[in-house]
């Protein structure tokens, strides 16, 4: 029987097997490609550092998705929330020159969190008050955010020289410094780790976290339990958006220092894979994000030495999500019961009424 810890690894192994088939179809050597991926991601100190840098936004969006999914709120909108957070940070960033360093950074991060929270809250409000499925609303909000970013960098926030569609650089005071020079590892990752711990405590050690998980297990039972579903929905979506928005602000403050079109290469969607590999556990989000950050980072070396385009990473992500879903399905549990008899695995989910009191 697959334990909680073993499942993600089994899923990754099966994904690796399927990827090998795809690679064989392409006429490439699977071992060579995996070796190139690993070498590119962890081959030396610089590669490791770059992997950490590439993982950082994924921790933020991964936490955002994991938190919402825990409450069975299918937030597909982390990308849009991150984008709006980045726009807020990029808009306020150039005007923070007269503030002390710490204050300027606090302001730019707060702006990002607030921007993302607003974007998440729109979907939360629509769900709570207008019964609009958050899946649809967050997908729509993603596209609106992408167009908003395109508009601001071509229009109101375009830098004065107007040479490229980018915004003016943020003030030095608002830039997170490179603490581990010459690598670009920065305070952002430390903040991300702290937030992961905070999310873990929130989810598993507080009454609100219990209510959220109860809502995720069974909305109707949670209602009978006295949990105010609409208010909780609104708050969770706002908090989820704030986490993603913070990720956008960290990216602006620490790495890009300005806005440009197509800022996110799909961090909000990768976050779904990250959250599922982490089995929605905020602490698990960190290694899961590093895994996917490593894939992103290693894919460049893979392209250089093996001639496989970096989109292979998306194939891996898609397969990993599908395999994890297939492993987790209740139908499988039923099948396992038929084959092996009733197992502890299927009974691992206690009914809400038996959960410890909040």
């Amino acid at each position: 029987m697959l334990s909680t810890i073993a499942k993600p690894f089994a899923a990754l192994a099966l994904a690796a097997a399927l990827i090998s088939i795809v690679l064989a179809a392409l006429g490439a050597s699977p071992l060579g490609v995996f070796a190139a991926l690993g070498e590119g991601a962890f081959g030396n100190w610089y590669a490791c550092a770059d992997t950490i840098v590439k993982s950082t936004p994924l921790v933020f969006t991964g936490l955002a998705v994991a938190l919402a999914f825990s409450g069975a709120l299918w937030n597909i909108g982390a990308d849009g929330q991150l984008t709006i957070g980045a726009i807020a940070a990029g808009a306020i960033g150039p005007h923070l020159g007269n503030f002390p360093h710490a204050i300027a950074i606090a302001i730019i991060l707060a702006a990002g969190a607030l921007g993302g929270a607003v974007w998440g809250a729109v979907a939360g409000w629509l769900r709570a008050r207008r019964d609009v499925n958050e899946v649809i609303s967050t997908i729509m909000l993603n596209f609106v955010a992408v167009q908003a970013l395109s508009w601001v960098v071509h229009g109101p926030l375009m830098e004065p020289s107007r040479a490229y569609p980018t915004s003016s650089p943020i003030a030095r005071a608002a830039q997170i410094e490179f603490y581990f020079a010459p690598s670009r590892i920065n305070l952002g990752m430390i903040l991300a780790v702290a937030l992961a711990a905070a999310c873990y405590l929130l989810l598993f050690r507080t009454g609100a976290g219990f209510e959220l998980r109860a809502m995720g297990r069974n909305r109707r039972a949670a209602t009978f339990f006295g949990i105010r579903i609409p208010a909780l929905t609104l708050w969770v979506m706002a908090l989820s958006g704030a986490l993603a928005g913070l990720g956008g602000a960290v990216q602006i403050s620490a790495i890009s220092h300005r806005l440009y079109e197509k800022l996110s290469p799909g961090w909000g969607f990768e976050a779904i894979a990250v959250a599922l590999v982490a089995r929605l556990n905020p602490l698990g989000v960190i290694p899961a994000a590093i895994l996917f950050g490593a894939l992103d980072n290693g894919s460049q070396a893979m392209q250089r030495t093996q001639g496989i385009s970096p989109e292979l990473v998306q194939v891996i992500q898609g397969l990993v999500i599908l395999i994890i879903l297939a492993f987790d399905t209740p139908a499988w549990s039923g099948l396992r019961e038929q084959i092996f008899g009733a197992s502890g695995d299927a009974a691992a989910v206690p009914p809400v009424a038996e959960m410890p009191d909040a």
Binding site: L26, R130, I136, S137, F143, Q147, G155, I308, E311
Partner: protein
């Protein structure tokens, strides 16, 4: 100018409407498939590759249908048989298709940046109708896929609203337990809807490569699958409504190109955001999903 704009509106609306009609079938059966973007991409890629290497547009279309069906089969296996969460599966399918088409395109056509062009699918002017001023070129001088798509609007309306099969389909989307109790075979009906939808979505993708761009670029669907999802909502789950919404969004896309060329003060991004913003407004204004099938998105498992 007006003629070009209106013709372009129909061209832009066609792939969106085709995919949206497929999605409508699926949603009537109680499944929400947000992986249409992936099926569309797979269709676009298969159509171009097969048409390029075989020199046959018809074979390209067949390939697109096969690719759309294959992608939807993966989706159906998970969400219909294994009762997995439809949203997350749909997202994963889209990511997977985006990756697979990207990887195989680079492998087949290299990274030279040279565009691999195919002959555009032939236009069929409809006799004297095509000679009517303005209306002729706008409505009656298109390829077979355009005519097929617009004929599908009344045909699908009839099937869903007036036939026994349509009734069964809708029963699966409204009350799967009751439908199952009546012996309707929810699993089989949902599979059928997803397979037909896969074929239509694959063809929608083929339209992008064979009729519109005449080549393939990565992520050529560029969110059109999600516009199709919007079209189903804005069109209120009615194929006539879907046609109207598709034409509206097609016009927004056509206008956006016109505006970019003209360089007006109206930001073209406004038109690109229109389908999505309008969907939000419609959903908020009409009180959520009153018109949606009530079991939409809920996996069905026999007890």
């Amino acid at each position: 100018m007006l003629e070009a704009l209106l013709t372009s509106t129909i061209t832009m609306a066609t792939p969106i409407l085709l995919a949206a009609l497929g999605e409508l079938l699926v949603e009537e059966s109680g499944v929400i498939n947000i992986g249409i973007e992936g099926a569309m991409l797979a269709g676009a890629f298969a159509a171009l590759t097969i048409a390029y290497f075989s020199g046959s547009t018809a074979l390209g279309l067949v390939g697109a249908i096969a690719a759309g069906v294959a992608i939807n089969a993966i989706f159906a296996m998970l969400v219909v048989n294994l009762a997995v969460n439809q949203v997350v599966t749909g997202t994963a399918v889209s990511i997977l298709a985006l990756g697979l088409t990207g990887v195989f395109y680079r492998k087949l056509f290299g990274v030279t940046g040279k565009a691999f062009m195919v002959a555009p699918i032939a236009k069929i002017p409809l006799g004297p109708l095509a000679r009517i001023p303005l209306l002729g070129p706008v409505l009656f001088n298109h390829n077979a896929l355009v005519y097929f798509t617009f004929i599908l609007v009344p045909a699908l309306w009839y099937v869903i609203a007036r036939t026994r099969y349509g009734l069964r389909l809708r029963a699966c989307g409204e009350r799967p337990e009751a439908a199952d109790a009546l012996g309707l075979g929810v699993i089989a009906i949902r599979w059928q809807a997803l397979m037909v939808s896969g074929a239509l979505t694959g063809l929608a993708g083929a339209f992008l490569t064979l009729a519109y761009a005449n080549t393939f670029v990565e992520n050529i669907s560029a969110g059109r699958g999600f516009v199709a999802l919007s079209v189903v909502i804005v069109g209120r789950w009615n194929s006539w409504g879907l046609a109207a919404a598709s034409v509206l969004f097609g016009a927004a896309m056509a206008l956006q190109f016109g505006l970019q060329a003209l360089g007006t003060v109206v930001p073209y991004q406004l038109f690109l955001a229109l389908p999505y913003a309008l969907t939000l407004v419609v959903l908020a204004g009409f009180g959520g999903q009153a018109a949606a099938p009530s079991a939409l998105g809920e996996p069905y498992r026999r007890q």
